[in-house]
């Protein structure tokens, strides 16, 4: 599948970088862009020379291996929810972001998870639940335990972060990177039959054509 996703297949050349697509999901103003910005440029809401903050890439070194993240930000407003499944195609990881000071955004994150489950079979993507804005602890509406419990029951990675104070941001992306690399290794050890991969690609293409057609 790695090839269909644009990631060069492992083993072709040892020096090359695997590219992983990560989608940022969450309702409006939970700090999706800020998290990505903090991770990519170590910055928080300052005027940047770049014009857009919606598509980012960053190379992450993980000990001996390194990988390239491609981060796709999505529009979080409620009205665009229905079209956002289009962003999921070919994603390797998803970051479900909610605001710990808003119970509503936590509910939305759960809704996003349902959407993801519709598009992907379990285990196909690495999903991480992130409670952002720990700097606003006194206004907290979602407890750490609530988040953790939900994440564990759905087999998600979990962390609480603060993009503003740069707390746990790099760690969160690092955890995803580690998980991705581990899965890649597991896959490498037992390569799927070639025919299967082709079939899967064909199915996905068919799905794609229908999707836009609607």
């Amino acid at each position: 599948m790695a090839q269909a996703n644009g990631a060069p297949q492992p083993g072709a050349a040892p020096s090359q970088l695997c590219v992983f697509k990560l989608v940022l999901l969450g309702s409006g103003s939970v700090g999706k862009s800020s998290l990505a910005l903090r991770f990519v440029k170590d910055d928080f809401k300052s005027i940047l020379p770049t014009v857009g903050c919606a598509f980012f890439t960053k190379v992450v070194e993980m000990g001996t291996a390194s990988l390239k993240f491609e981060i796709w930000d999505t529009a979080g407003q409620e009205k665009y929810h229905s079209v956002c499944h289009l962003y999921f195609r070919g994603a390797n990881a998803a970051l479900l972001v909610y605001d710990i000071t808003s119970k509503d955004s936590f509910g939305k994150a759960q809704q996003w998870l349902k959407d993801l489950e519709k598009e992907f079979s379990p285990g196909e993507v690495v999903v991480m639940l992130v409670g952002n804005k720990t700097d606003l602890g006194q206004e907290r509406e979602v407890t750490f335990e609530d988040g953790k419990e939900f994440a564990e029951s759905h087999n998600l990675l979990f962390m609480e972060t603060s993009a503003k104070l740069n707390h746990q941001v790099t760690e969160a992306f690092g955890a995803i990177a580690r998980e991705l690399l581990q899965r890649e290794e597991r896959k490498e050890n037992q390569p799927p039959p070639r025919g299967d991969a082709r079939l899967a690609l064909g199915q996905r293409l068919a799905g794609r054509a229908n999707c836009c057609a609607r």
């Binding site: 090839q3 269909a4 996703n5 644009g6 990631a7 060069p8 297949q9 072709a12 050349a13 090359q16 590219v19 697509k21 940022l24 409006g28 103003s29 999706k32 862009s33 809401k45 005027i47 940047l48 770049t50 014009v51 857009g52 903050c53 919606a54 598509f55 491609e70 796709w72 930000d73 999505t74 529009a75 979080g76 407003q77 009205k79 665009y80 229905s82 079209v83 956002c84 289009l86 962003y87 195609r89 070919g90 082709r198 690609l201 064909g202 199915q203 293409l205 068919a206 794609r208 054509a209 229908n210 836009c212 057609a213 609607r214």
Partner: protein
Amino acid sequence: MSLKSERRGIHVDQSELLCKKGCGYYGNPAWQGFCSKCWREEYHKARQKQIQEDWELAERLQREEEEAFASSQSSQGAQSLTFSKFEEKKTNEKTRKVTTVKRFFSASSRVGSKKAEIQEAKAPSPSINRQTSIETDRVSKEFIEFLKTFHKTGQEVYKQTKLFLEAMHYKRDLSIEEQSECTQDFYQNVAERMQTRGKVPPEKVEKIMDHIEKYIMTRLYKHVFCPETTDDEKKDLTIQKRIRALHWVTPQMLCVPVNEEIPEVSDMVVKAITDIIEMDSKRVPRDKLACVTRCSKHVFSAIKVTKNEPASADDFLPTLIYIVLKGNPPRLQSNIQYVTRFCNPSRLMTGEDGYYFTNLCCAVAFIEKLDAQSLNLSQEDFDRYMSGQTSPRKQESENWSPDACLGVRQMYKNLDLLSQLNERQERIMSEAKKLEKDLIDWTDGIAKEVQDIVEKCPLEIKPPNQSLAAIDSENVENDKLPPPLQPQVYAG
């Protein structure tokens, strides 16, 4: 999937595919069932015949006219006209006759060419074919030149590409999904082979893949862009109509963070619209993607100038939707379908180009589903706007139609301001008058009050109190006191 199996079910008899003339080559419905060679012959023959007929018709008419002229001349001759006048008239008649014939002939030839045009519409005439083939040739030449730099791998790639194109030629009657699948398989196989067998580094593979895509898609474009077997064209028209019906949507309704009154921003918006419209003119999927990316970059700049901070996805998508609504790009669905079907998949699902293209897909999907709620309008308002009964622009005088030029808009705005100023001025005048009156009333009132009080408690000056005067009178004896002590200086 079900769609595909249905299409697969259509069976075409082999004999129906062959040239009608029975020369053994395959025919094409676009050439009325002939093969390319026979079609050109037939077409040429038909055209020659048409020209011949036009000539004959013209000659016959000329002859008729001459006869008519001769008969009228003979009757006129009896009226004993002077020779010079007769001569003059004759030359006049002659020139007139020649021009009519000429006129007629040119008209008839136009009719002929119109017929030819109809035929051309049915099947591209050889000359059109030639024109596109010039570009195709150029692309092929470039492709070969490029592959030369890769020596053996280049040769291999060229061979594979040729084989693929030949195979695709016979697959033209398959459904577009199957053709798309073949192309995707081809991309995958070639890339794989280059990496495993040719040991080509991945950056170069990517570059070669780009060239392969350009080469094959320039050739296949004509047959696989908006093919007749699909309802792409219908969808194009549907979305076009939909966008036209939504002409009244304002940036405010979509919460677009772009202020078009800033000249720099409106410039960017125009550039973005131009780019998205230009997408239709490109043949290679990658070039189409590049147009979308350029459009997106302009959108980002427009947002950045307006908001003074880099735009996030929350700002970007609504603005892109607004651009699509404003631009109404031609054959939007066909283009999207074509790119999804025939672009190298890695470029579509990852990478910056893929990101912007996905956003465009989202924008189109949103426009299709758009309802009153997504514009923060009541259902009644939305229905009224959609049916064209009213337009929000008419109600809000501030929103002048977008096609009015900047100067006119500015003028209207200034007029508005002036009338507002006038109103305020009047209000100030009346209030000033009121104030003046109030002041006068107030002084009068005070004067009156003072008067009243004075009247109520009139001022009475009483003679001084006796006992108080006595205190002062006692002081008379002070004069008798000794004088105060004076400071004295003692020597020593």
